[in-house]
């Protein structure tokens, strides 16, 4: 089966500013992929291109379609939440359900109403009367009632408190995800999503710096916590990043032999956030 999303030399320029610089990306079906990068790295530009919201240069197919040209058809099989705060303030909850039910061929009204019944939100309320957390619940109910092959979330929890954020991701994993779906999430808060992802894509300065599954992270990357006296010996193995913590040095290696590294100190698989910092700072050094 062809990849669900495939980008080759994807480039997006805003005047002189290059937001995406020949980015290559391949996302298979059934994965939960985190597109992770610092602010201004090109995450949002990549998503806008994938969702057909903007023109681009290079090749890009999503669900076998060209997103910008075929946005309307693409949205039959793909849905997105680009920041939860975008439901129009004047829209009533029941009207929102009516509207999406009327427009979207894959929307299941019973599912949306069941999801909303769990909350305290009345159908007659307008979005501007709801708290940010409630708006999130409405938007999620609308989105999760759509039988989509691809769900794209752009900084979905921006501005939410920790309770609402947790509820958002729990609902996503427990009520929505199954093997027929693919989820692409962008965020700059790595800690929040790292234990629900199956794949990670790091983006920096418009380029993809890492695209790997989490299973591969364990075999590919090793971190070694080394005492200062052994640092020089360990450095000979060419770490791509080092970090000094409380008198110890953590060295990060890619494609190194763990058996060899064990000699220098305690080894472990780096967390996504550590890897993110290591990869991005290391690349810059």
């Amino acid at each position: 089966m062809a990849a669900l999303i495939e980008a080759r030399d994807l480039t997006k320029k805003y005047g002189a500013h290059v937001a995406l610089d020949r980015a290559n990306l391949k996302i298979e079906a059934g994965r939960i992929v985190g597109l992770i990068g610092p602010n201004g790295a090109g995450k949002t530009s990549a998503l806008r291109a994938i969702l057909g919201l903007t023109t681009y240069q290079g090749q890009l197919t999503v669900l076998g379609r060209e997103p910008f040209r075929d946005r309307t058809q693409l949205m039959n099989e793909c849905c997105f939440i680009a920041d939860v705060a975008v439901l129009p303030s004047w829209l009533r909850v029941d009207h929102a359900i009516d509207f999406v039910a009327g427009i979207h061929p894959r929307f299941r009204r019973d599912r949306a109403t069941a999801l909303l019944a769990k909350t305290q939100i009345s159908g007659k309320r307008r979005m501007r009367e709801l708290s940010k957390g409630m708006k999130t619940q409405v938007h999620l109910a609308l989105t999760m009632a759509i039988d989509a092959k691809l769900l794209v979330l752009d900084e979905p929890t921006l501005g939410l408190d920790i309770l609402a954020r947790r509820a958002f991701y729990d609902a996503l994993v427990n009520d929505y995800m199954d093997e027929t779906r693919t989820i692409l999430i962008t965020t700059h808060q790595v800690e929040e999503v790292e234990n629900l992802l199956t794949d990670i894509v790091f983006i920096d300065k418009g380029r993809i710096v890492l695209d790997t599954s989490l299973e591969d992270v364990a075999t590919r990357f090793t971190a070694v916590s080394v005492t200062p006296d052994r640092v020089d010996a360990a450095r000979a193995e060419k770490p791509f990043y080092e970090r000094h913590i409380l008198g110890r040095v953590v060295l990060y290696f890619e494609n190194a032999d763990p058996g060899k590294l064990q000699a220098f100190g305690e080894i472990h698989t780096p967390s996504v956030s550590d890897l993110f910092v290591a990869k991005l700072s290391g690349g810059a050094a």
Partner: protein, 292 residues
């Protein structure tokens, strides 16, 4: 229901002013009819009665038409801008609706549906006001301000006015929507400024001509002379014409309106062509510009 119907419902949910303004305006007119000074001269002949009934309907309709023109202009200026400003466009674009459908639904609302709502409100107001005034002025008026035959003619007149207005002002609507889809802020300024600069700086100062000024002024005020018969430039004198002839013939509205003149005028078709180009440009911008 298809997507277009849902999009039109959506516009009514968002813009409650579409029906609230005409409702309030009609209410104010009714209050004026109830408590205002009534000074209707005594009508003795059938012609006089027709004249008063027709004149009354046209005045009420004309007032609604003016309010409608202001509101529709504002609506078209705002319709592709608000959801970009509050970013709700990202919600609308997550649904399988073509941008062309969205833009055309808003054009239809601005140019046809809003006028129809105002037209219905004008009818209802005129009906009730005529009733109120006829009772209040019964002593002097001598007959009802209400006349079914004249009323039917005025209905035809309004349908014709709505239809020709929509086509004649298509380039204006296209311009408003284009700016609405394009501007990052100050839509009204961008609507007015470029034509003003072309007219004043480019033409008057540099070329010393007034061609663009003439074209724009002609587009803004030229509709009555194209869509109605007669040499006079003012629509209201034509409308007066209906009333004057109302007694003489039941088909006078057909003499007043000039559809063949309207549709054979090059100005009409040039305007439609320019409007279509501007609307296509607005659709293209809508596809590309998601956020401010």
């Amino acid at each position: 229901m298809n997507n277009g119907t849902w999009l039109i419902r959506r516009e009514f949910w968002e813009n409650r002013a579409i029906w609230m303004i005409p409702a309030v305006f009609g209410g104010l007119l009714l209050i004026a009819a109830l408590f205002g000074q009534v000074s209707i001269p005594r009508l003795t002949t059938v012609e006089e009665s027709h004249e008063a009934a027709g004149g009354f309907l046209v005045i009420v309709g004309g007032l609604f038409y003016l309010v409608m023109a202001v509101y529709s202009t504002w609506y078209l200026m705002d319709c592709l801008y608000t959801d970009r400003r509050d970013r709700s466009i990202l919600f609308w674009k997550s649904l399988p609706i073509a941008d062309s459908t969205t833009v055309l639904s808003k054009l239809l609302v601005g140019m046809v549906i809003i006028p129809l709502v105002y037209f219905a409100a004008a009818d209802a107001t005129a009906l009730i006001a005529a009733f109120i005034l006829s009772i209040r002025a019964r002593a002097s008026i001598g007959s009802s301000l209400w006349n079914g035959e004249v009323w039917l003619q005025v209905q035809v007149l309004w349908m014709y006015v709505i239809f020709t207005t929509a086509l004649w002002y298509l380039p204006i609507a296209g311009w408003l929507m284009l700016v609405s889809a394009w501007a990052k802020r100050a839509v009204m300024l961008w609507v007015v400024l470029p034509p003003l600069l072309v007219c004043i700086i480019l033409e008057r100062v540099i070329f010393g001509t007034q061609m663009a000024t003439h074209v724009i002024m002609r587009r803004l005020t030229g509709l009555p002379s194209v869509s109605f018969n007669g040499g006079s430039k003012h629509m209201w004198t034509h409308d007066g014409g209906v009333v004057d002839n109302a007694g003489a013939s039941s088909m006078t509205v057909w003499r007043l309106i000039n559809p063949s003149g309207f549709f054979t005028s090059a100005e009409t078709w040039i305007g439609i062509a320019v409007g279509v180009v501007l609307i296509i440009a607005a659709i293209q911008l809508r596809m590309r510009r998601s956020e401010i």
